[in-house]
Amino acid sequence: MVQVHSERSGTLKAVAPDVSNEVLAPSHMANVLPEYPLIKIRPGRKWVALNLRDLWAYRELLYFLTWRDIKVRYKQTVLGAAWAIIQPLFMMLIFTLFFGRLAGLDSRVGGIPYPIFAYAGLLPWTFFSNAITNSSNSLVGSSNLITKVYFPRMIIPAAAVGAGVVDFAIAFAVLIGLMIYYGMPIMGSIVMLPPLVLLTTLLAMGIGMWLSALNVKYRDIRYALPFMIQFWMFATPIIYPSSLVPAKWQWALALNPLTGIIEGYRAALFGLEFNWAALSISAAITLAILVYSAYSFRRMEKSFADLV
């Protein structure tokens, strides 16, 4: 495993230019070598440090890869970025027809028009499900990079998640339009949206990162994922309110980290009361998933180049 020598980082910066300090001419540093190795390459150990310093040094790459994914996504499509709207919009129409009208959920969503209710749930869900689908396939799709050049591998699934944020923003504009159409006021609680988006992004990153690493070794993930996502969607109060679930099953619903988040979106948009308990559970689970995925990603990372 590779470690950037960190104990004496202060001295290092002064003597040898690392990534953040490279205006020095190369001929300069050939004569002045750092006292300690800049990079130590050693066999991998089971548990390794997260190496966030390295990740920070490559932050520009995260930006460029995200930007590439956004730029390339709708190339050679006729409708272009409209696809970002079409997907949640059509799902909303279908669910409004089947669940809202035929199953009679219309009357049970607390006075909010069902299309808006469904769309407000489908919006973060579409973002989330696309993010984990894209990121779980991202490492396998970047095999040409992984076998040819070094950079912190975490950047690849992270960029795949990041690229979805733009789609989310576009689809969000439609939601505002819908709310105005239905004559709903925009509440002050909308300031809670950015932290919620951040929480969704972190959760998607945690799960996407872990799945992408597994997918390198076990290509089963690709086939299991669509099924898992569909199941997850129905296990989350997206097209139905959580109040619909019997009281004795409420605890199970709360364990799903998306429950608190999706309910949170609705609370922020429609000015409802926040369910802080559910939101805290979601945040705690998200954090746990993120930390676990990051460590297990680092552990699996060393074999990527040999497997992909």
Partner: protein
């Protein structure tokens, strides 16, 4: 002075089983875990069987500013060494200490996306190779100028010709500012003129005091670029010395199993009365080798057994390139009077003069036939192969000349302009012609 690269007892092991089943599935993994203890029992502890060691206990130091060529035959572990050094894959044991940033060029065009424009790809590929945006901004014009793609810089790269693609790819990589530069076989792409420029750029890099590790099969380029060399053979470091010594050691010593073919009783190409036994390549010193010096003569030798006299027996060979282009063929009666051969064991040896074949890998097959020579008695497949290495290169940039043949030709340049008969003018004219 302290070394900038310290390689200590570096080993890399690949599991051969894992290599074959590249895409493990969950089910296989579970079944494998269950079976593993039983496997170990049945194998009786011979666990080393299914691993192959790409590198074995390699140790060496590189001083700052050195340009080191790494030579060795295919599969010797050169690329594995570079991959470990560029942190793409992990060593199994041992380690490397690097006292500088590493820029690696294991492939040109890493991270290029066909849908993006040249400008966008310069930033993307630069960032992937480890450049900062500010660094790319600063060098942008230089990169574009080097690649000669000014007019197409805002065109998506899928519309680029392959030449333009490679030029831009190399230009980005060549402008990396790291203390250590690791290069694998990238000069073998592009047209001759561009190869020349790449080699020039690489020499600039080396002259700037940066440390360069260079892997190539083009011995001319290695010799032109590097002052020191490392010779790796079957994963082990054979020697580390100045580049001249390394190249000559490599060419004379490198002998893998394929440089000699030995047929046993079961698989020998044979007819009832005739049987091929061995075939091999001899260099000018009479040593059996795989790699030959372009300047030196060599022989193709085939050994065969005749069990009863065959009238007018004729042994021949045909030679072709890896791409299947036929080069030449010859038969032995030209050097052998027409009489019955056998019974007994014979060799037929055909000698090529130096400066015949150009750099490359060549394949040879053998035939035996008897009058009236319509149908061969036996024809072997193209089984024997050998490499010709260019140790001198051509011209100041040591580039590879085109074609299959590499004759040592004589040129005469004369000034036929009667108005300027003096020798001084003549040499001036020559200089103008070559520029």
């Amino acid at each position: 002075m302290n070394p900038i690269i310290k390689v200590e007892n570096l080993s890399k092991q690949y599991r051969i089983g894992a290599r074959q089943a590249r895409y493990a599935t969950l089910r296989e993994s579970i079944v494998g875990t269950v079976r593993a203890p039983f496997k170990r029992l049945s194998r009786n502890g011979k666990s080393s069987d299914n691993t192959s060691r790409a590198l074995k206990d390699v140790s060496f130091d590189v001083m700052p500013g050195e340009t080191v060529g790494i030579v060795g035959s295919n599969g010797a572990g050169k690329s594995t060494l570079l991959k470990i050094m560029s942190r793409i894959t992990d060593p199994t044991t041992g380690g490397i200490d690097l006292y500088g940033r590493v820029g690696s060029l294991l492939e040109v065009g890493t991270g290029f996306h066909p849908e993006l424009t040249g400008r966008e790809n310069i930033y993307l590929s630069g960032a992937i190779l480890g450049m900062r945006k500010s660094e790319i901004d600063r060098k942008f014009d230089e990169i574009v100028a080097f690649a000669e793609v000014e007019e197409f810089i805002d065109t998506p790269m899928k519309h680029y010709s392959s030449g333009m693609y490679i030029r831009l790819a190399f230009a980005v990589a060549a402008h990396l500012e790291s203390e250590i530069l690791v290069i694998d076989e990238v000069l073998s792409v592009g047209d001759v003129r561009f190869q020349k420029r790449c080699l020039g750029k690489m020499s600039d890099v080396a002259r700037n005091g940066r440390t360069v590790l260079f892997v190539s099969h083009n011995m001319g380029a290695v010799r032109a670029l590097c002052s020191k060399g490392i010779y790796i053979k079957q994963g082990q470091l054979v020697c580390r010395s100045d580049i001249e010594t390394i190249i000559s050691t490599y060419l004379s010593e490198d002998k893998s199993s394929s440089s000699i073919i030995e047929w046993n009783d079961r698989d020998a190409p044979r007819s009832p009365e005739f049987c091929f036994r061995r075939a091999y390549i001899l260099n000018d010193a009479g040593k059996c080798v795989e790699s030959l010096d372009i300047r030196k003569e060599f022989s193709i030798v085939v050994e065969y057994e005749v069990s009863r006299p065959i009238k007018g027996l004729r042994i021949g060979f045909a030679m072709q390139t890896l791409e299947g282009i036929s080069i030449c063929g010859s038969n032995d009666p030209e050097g052998w009077p027409q009489f019955d051969r056998g019974p007994g064991t014979f060799t037929s040896r055909c000698t090529f003069p130096g400066y015949t074949l150009n750099t490359g890998t060549y394949l040879v097959n053998f035939t035996a036939d008897e009058p009236p020579y319509h149908v061969p008695l036996i024809r072997t497949p193209f089984c024997l192969h050998f490499n010709v290495e260019d140790t001198i290169g051509h011209g100041p940039m040591k580039e590879r000349l085109p074609g299959v043949l590499r004759p040592n030709l004589t040129w005469a340049v004369a000034n036929i302009d009667t108005n300027k008969p003096s020798g001084r003018n003549l040499s001036n004219n020559v200089a103008q012609k070559s520029s």
